[in-house]
């Protein structure tokens, strides 16, 4: 469990990536279980600018298609193209090999305003959040 990782009520996670200023985004373990087996991921183009809460990617399972929203505003600087050919990685390793994209976040100080692990778990217990 990463202490720097933060979450959204729409079940994305975000944490600082290795390259300076970039943050990695994926979906939570809860989300991958809810979505069930991922069969297709539509990733954003590198360079795409997104606002906080804007749709960035689409994940499809046999159940339905789900929109993935940007936890913070910024620009897409990298995408995990491995999940395009192996979408099951999102289920197998949602916080690791199943990451979706990296954002160069406009204002990195906003990260700590998002729910941390404890707050996100509380949200799940209260039945809150949603896609």
């Amino acid at each position: 469990m990463s202490s720097e990782r933060r979450y959204t009520p729409t079940h994305e996670w975000i944490e600082p990536a290795s390259s300076p200023g970039a943050m990695k985004v994926g979906i939570t373990d809860f989300a991958q279980k809810e979505i069930t087996d991922v069969v297709f991921v539509e990733l954003p183009k590198i360079g795409k600018k997104v606002e906080k809460g804007g749709e960035v990617a689409i994940i499809e399972s046999v159940k339905a298609a789900f929109s993935i929203y940007a936890p913070l505003g910024g620009e897409v600087v990298a995408v995990n193209d491995k999940i395009e050919s192996d979408p099951g990685l999102v289920n197998e390793d949602p916080y690791g090999k199943g990451w979706l994209f990296e954002l160069k976040v406009a204002d990195p100080t906003l990260l700590t305003e998002l729910p941390d692990e404890g707050a996100y778990q509380k949200l799940l217990l209260s039945g809150g959040g949603g896609h």
Partner: protein, 499 residues
């Protein structure tokens, strides 16, 4: 057909699974043929075709007699489930029974044999019929102008969105780039809005399943071009605050779009125009006795207010004196589809409207509402349901409590197949976990609904008491549980037998 997908023979519990019908490739016998055209010498035919365009070898097609082909497709039709053989409560899709007499309409030679390039003078009858269809739909929708051009419901949405874009363009208002859509909407709504060049903003539902009024107010801005609402919504609920919502949307200067896919629930009872909507589309196959997908082309007529009429797709049918002519106004969004739309489908819709008349059409909606509420009441307490009070033409149950037995809504659906029904819609709408969406439609009898309710209750009891048995369903279909994930991740799109 891979081995993983079929479980030939024993389906467990002493039940023998019906065999799968082999494919035509598997049944092929070299040299067999269906027809022998008389007096045709193949050489005289191929002799007229340039050599470089001829095949080196005959195409690899299956070879069978006519009778073998007839039996193949008849057997397949017996393995399939349709509304002609089974109760089909597939929510959102409105799988009601279409009167067989409607099949006669596209067979009327004057319409059937009309060439699409016939001049206006030669198709006055068709133009009159289509004009009457526009008028009848306009009367039912409370809209001043109707286009019949869109080829399906989602195409109707796209038409409505392009009309809205043209409208704001004509006003010189380029700031309105967003379309607001509730999270319970049909998935086609955001797709159409994006195709029309708009940014989609999703509006959350309140805990009662309706649009959250304060969330809508917050989302409205000078950037909002349009709000798309489904009435009744996909939970089968009428929005309680609809008049306030209409007011708020219009105050913000945006247009209000109604996804009228659920026309069956309000036809002759309420008119979108009277509610204050600016644009509405309907899907003829869900309400007006035209075929569902695969049974023929679709049609998604769109009705608009007078102020939006100049932007409707071209050509428009104009009546002058007793004659009809086609016109393409410069203000139009342009043609959306070849010729005049799915004309034979539209004639069926016209026939259905004229056959039932105003009161008859109202009775369709009233009985759709009655049947849904009756079935919902019968199923009270079986599974948790969404929404208080009455429902509209369909209702949503949640199988989330079955998680404790390791079961999902899809497991119930499989068991429902064994009980002799088509399964309800599952996993939609997305805002309800483990959703089962049930829509009986007006064409089912009380006896059918009573029996379905009894069987459904038994199935849920079985799921609670013997979940392992439910996991083995269905037993009475030749294919039990296809590998949906494998099929989506690694699709095999050609029959291996054909290669």
């Amino acid at each position: 057909m891979s081995k993983a997908m079929t479980e030939n023979g024993n389906a467990g519990e002493g039940i023998k699974r019906p065999p799968m019908e082999p494919t035509l490739w598997e049944k092929s016998r070299p040299g067999a043929r269906g027809v022998l055209p008389p007096g045709v010498d193949p050489d005289t035919v191929t002799g007229r075709i340039p050599k470089e365009l001829l095949r080196g070898a005959p195409p690899p097609l299956p070879e069978l007699s006519e009778l073998e082909v007839v039996r193949h497709f008849t057997r397949l039709s017996h393995l399939s489930r349709g509304v002609d053989t089974h109760f089909y409560p597939l929510g959102s899709c409105t799988m009601k029974y279409n009167p067989k007499v409607m099949d006669r309409i596209p067979e009327i030679p004057g319409f059937r044999d009309l060439h699409p390039r016939t001049d206006e003078e030669g198709m006055q009858g068709l133009l009159e019929a289509l004009s009457l269809c526009e008028e009848s739909l306009g009367a039912l929708l409370g809209m001043e102008a109707v286009t019949l051009a869109p080829a399906a419901g989602a195409h109707g949405e796209l038409a409505g969105i392009l009309i809205a874009r043209q409208y704001f363009d004509a006003k010189g208002d380029r700031e309105r780039t967003e379309i607001l859509i509730p999270d319970s909407a049909h998935g086609t709504n955001p797709a159409s809005a994006a195709m029309g060049g708009f940014t989609v903003r999703v509006v959350a539902s309140g805990s009662d399943g309706g649009v959250d009024l304060s969330a809508l107010e917050k989302a409205l801005s000078p950037r909002t071009a349009m709000v798309m609402m489904t009435v009744p919504n996909t939970l089968g609920l009428f929005e309680k605050n609809i008049s306030t919502m209409v007011e708020k949307v219009h105050q913000s200067g945006a247009l209000l779009y109604m996804d009228g896919a659920n026309f069956n629930a309000f036809m002759g009872v309420l008119r979108p125009g009277d509610l204050g909507f600016d644009i509405v589309h309907i899907n003829t196959h869900k309400t007006l006795a035209t075929p569902h997908g695969g049974g023929g082309p679709g049609s998604g007529p769109v009705g608009v207010r007078k102020t939006l009429e100049p932007f409707l797709p071209s050509p428009r049918i104009r009546k002058e004196g007793g004659r009809f002519r086609l016109e393409s106004p410069a203000t139009s969004i342009g043609p959306l589809r070849s010729f005049l739309g799915s004309t034979l489908v539209l004639l069926r819709a016209l026939g259905y409207m004229k056959m039932l008349g105003g009161e008859g059409l109202r009775q369709v909606a009233v009985h759709a509402l009655l049947n849904a509420n009756y079935l919902r009441a019968l199923l009270d307490g079986v599974l948790p349901r969404t929404g208080e009070g009455l429902c509209a033409h369909e209702f949503v149950l949640s199988a989330r409590d079955l998680a404790s037995r390791g079961l999902h809504a899809s497991d119930l659906a499989k068991e429902i197949l064994d009980a002799g029904y088509y399964a309800p819609t599952i996993s939609f709408p997305l805002i309800v976990p483990e959703a089962l969406m049930i829509e009986p439609t007006e064409t089912e009898s009380k006896e059918t609904l009573d029996k379905f309710a009894r069987d459904f209750r038994t199935i849920v009891e079985k799921a609670m008491n013997a979940p392992d048995s439910v996991k083995k369903a269905p037993r009475l279909t030749p294919v039990a549980r296809p590998d949906e994930v494998g099929a989506a991740r690694d699709p095999v799109l050609t029959d291996p037998g054909s290669l």
